[in-house]
């Protein structure tokens, strides 16, 4: 069986024009020789600190950005040959995305129902009526009242917006959804709701996730396998439990040790008691 997504020695270099005339370039290697793959139906978590190249990797997978070297293949075909600039319908129906800021990822001038139905217009042969019917179904699937479909993005709450963004992403029945910090902007209680929703939808529809986040606990909870990025380099990857419980790389260990531990006995109280005794 071939993998759903193969990322093979991927590097992305940004060139920024510098100087008054913009004639010189400064190079920034955002992603440096990253390789991993995702099997159908599994969740691959990508963690790392800000600037480690997580989102850049995600954008290459989505076909929004070209690789400088190496390549990413979806279902065996190079994404560079089918990405957004090519407008390959089969590719877009297969790979969708949920971004961090749901307000920014929904067109403020479009009603929610239309926003959800939009990909169906380009990626399926449904009639306008079928599309809006399907969009209502999708709203229900993500746990929203279909009557919300008449509203604009700014008229609903952050958690609801993220549900709409998810409905839009799953509308064309993709095999892979890239979730780029999809729950990072949400409150703890809303975050838990959205994580559960993503897992439920995966159980129902069988799609795979590339789950990008900086919150290590969230990534561990949702992922089957995990890759750790540090300054563009994948320093470690493996099964979620193995990476967390027996990290091999020093950076992974440092990262894990830095996460605040909700066990008060391990915190300041303990240090205090130690100091007193």
């Amino acid at each position: 069986m071939t993998a759903l997504l193969e990322v093979d020695d991927l590097s992305v270099t940004f060139r920024r024009r510098v100087g008054a005339l913009g004639l010189r370039h400064r190079e920034m290697r955002a992603v440096d020789g990253v390789s991993f793959d995702i099997q159908p139906g599994e969740t691959f978590g990508l963690v790392g600190e800000s600037g480690s190249g997580k989102s850049t990797t995600g954008r290459v997978v989505l076909g929004l950005l070209g690789a400088t070297s190496g390549e990413a293949r979806f279902e065996g075909r190079p994404i560079a040959e089918q990405g957004t600039s090519r407008g390959d319908k089969a590719f877009h129906a297969g790979v969708q995305a949920v971004f961090q800021d749901p307000l920014a990822s929904l067109n403020p001038t479009m009603k929610l129902l239309d926003a959800i139905a939009e990909p169906l217009r380009w990626l399926t042969s449904m009639s306008a009526r079928e599309r809006s019917h399907r969009a209502s179904e999708l709203l229900e699937m993500v746990g929203l009242d279909p009557t919300l479909g008449d509203r604009y993005p700014h008229q609903i709450s952050g958690g609801q917006r993220q549900r709409v963004a998810i409905a839009r992403a799953i509308a064309p029945r993709p095999r892979l959804v890239v979730c780029d910090e999809a729950v990072s902007a949400l409150d703890v209680s809303t975050q838990a709701q959205i994580i559960n929703l993503l897992q439920d939808l995966q159980d129902q529809l069988g799609m795979a996730y590339l789950f990008i986040a900086h919150d290590l606990d969230v990534v561990r909870h949702i992922s089957d396998r995990i890759g750790v990025l540090c300054r563009g380099v994948m320093v470690e990857q493996g099964d979620a439990d193995q990476v967390y419980d027996a990290p091999k790389h020093a950076y992974t260990r440092e990262l894990l040790a830095s996460v605040p531990n909700p066990d008060p006995h391990a915190g300041r109280q303990r240090k205090r008691k130690e100091a007193l005794s």
Binding site: E49, S50, L64, T84, G87, K89, H92, V95, A97, F99, D101, A104, S105, L106, N107, P108, T109, M110, E118, P119, R121, W122, Y152, S157, G159, A165, R168, P172, D187, V188, S189, Q191, A192, Q193, I195, N196, Q199, H214, D215, L216, D217, V218, R220, H221, I222, E254, L255, A257, S258, V259, P260, N261, P262, D263, P264, H265, G267, R268, Q269, R272
Partner: protein, 629 residues
Amino acid sequence: MNESWRHRFVRDPFALGGLILLLLVLVAALAAPWLAPADPDTTSSDLLLGPGAGHLLGTDQHGRDVLSRLLFASRTALMAGGEAVGLALVIGVPLGLIVGYFGGWWDRIGMRIVDALMAVPALIIAFAIIAVLGPGLTNAMLAVGLLFAVRMIRLVRGIVLSLREELYVDAARLGGAPRFYVMGRTILPNMLGPVIVQSALYFSAALLIEAMLSFLGVGVQIPNATWGSMLAEARAEQFNQPFLPFPPAIALTVTVLALNFVADGLRDSLGKGNAKSPRKPRRRAAAAQATVPVTSTAGLAAVDGAELRIRDLVISVAAPGGPLPAVRGVNIDVRRGEIVGVVGESGSGKSLTALSIMGLLAPGVSVTGGQVLHQQVDLASLSDKQMRSIRGKRIGMVFQEPLSALNPAMTVGAQIAETLRIHTKASRKEALSRAVELLDRVGVPDPEARAKDFPHQFSGGMAQRAVIAMALACEPELLIADEPTTALDVTTQKQVLDLLQELVDEFDLGVLLITHDMGIVAETCDRAYVMYAGQVVEAGDVVGIFTRPRHPYTAALLRSTPRGAVGDRLPTLPGRVPNLVDIGAGCTFAPRCSFAQDSCRQGEIPLLALGGPSASRCLLTDQIKMEAV
């Protein structure tokens, strides 16, 4: 987009007035043949009359009726403006869209040409175009239209370039939408606002330029009347009839003013405005207290020897229907040498509480009840000057976004030194060398050199260290830290929190640490307050709160973090934090509480003292068993 911008527009008296004036000008222009008392071009022997019964606005040097000429001139003015703006839109918008969206060579070449044309004053470019086309109103407006088209290309391109980066444009492309659809349906509607505003401004500029060109004699040709040519003629007779310039000049000025007001109103109401004056806070707290319950707290035992005591604090925010209390009777104590956490979800009132201590609430937000006592002194009773001597000297503050908390135009060293310069007699040099020491203390490497750097040369973690140095420069007794690490990476966060704990011990500092992360509370705090919808719902020492939460909300918060979760599904809290307007009687948490009973919704729930610093705002505190980690 929706109806609310229209409401905002009509509520703005200037915008509405401008719109009405414009409509009047439009009516005058359309109905000129019927409104005008005389033929605008018929001469008579009544030369240069002042305003009077026969001729309301007098006559000019050829004996023509000024009012009639004015009315007909308004037609020319509107047509001229319309032509120019129409041309600018027809050429500028599509070209700007294409150049901006596709970029590449077209963009580079197009923008060079635009830059070149913009390097020459508009009026002179208009002259050059007229030199080619020949004089006359149509040619003049063609010239002005082309001129604006160039500017419009630049404007539209700029907007497109920024919209292209928007996530929703990516989302549309991921949805398989073709390019022209993305341009037309996704980008175009979102730039309509600025383009409309700009069109109104171009319209008024076109009127002015037309008038100038006619005034100089290269625009409309006499005897046709425009406001500019009327002014030019009036100038020649200014000594004989000083009144003559006024009618056309006032007509022109008022029309331009009206257009500008409409443009301003549109800009503000479409939400892109930058300088709408903030409303002053209205002191109508009594009315608000009647609708939303504000708790007075008896249950919370005072902590002995507290440096800072917040008592029954109520903070109201301005809202369309009158001020709403966002913080409702909060009590918090902080002693020196301890770190006190305030934890809660977004909107629970944490930041408002913190800012109110420093007297830094934004306009529209005000303390409407309770007290903030610093060493027994009610801070509200202090004068502005006395309050300033507390800020930075006795109480320091650290904010969430370190990079935006630093002034981008001042070196970091100078900003740290400023605290000392304000509160001590230190000379500039002394203050700067102390700033270097402080940077060293908070762990900024190579402090001597970094003190001379500007904030944009700092990473987030380093910047937060600098902000901490700034807050501690005068060795205050208290530090208020509002989510000091939320914007930082975990590894940096740990370093900053460790530093904070060191400083507490070193300076015997009392810290009020605001966060939404239960992990941070557990790891760094001695005591904590859990806030929900503007109230403290649970208070206690950290070990107690985490091992045996006494309020269902605290328990749920602890359970819904992925780390605390057992098994595959995360236990969730249904619903979300209520809006301020939705808060009703009874327990605020009741709609989301799995233990809620009828009695919970009856009256105000008091904060129940549980011995020591512990308290819980739940009727069933003692009856239900809550599970935490």
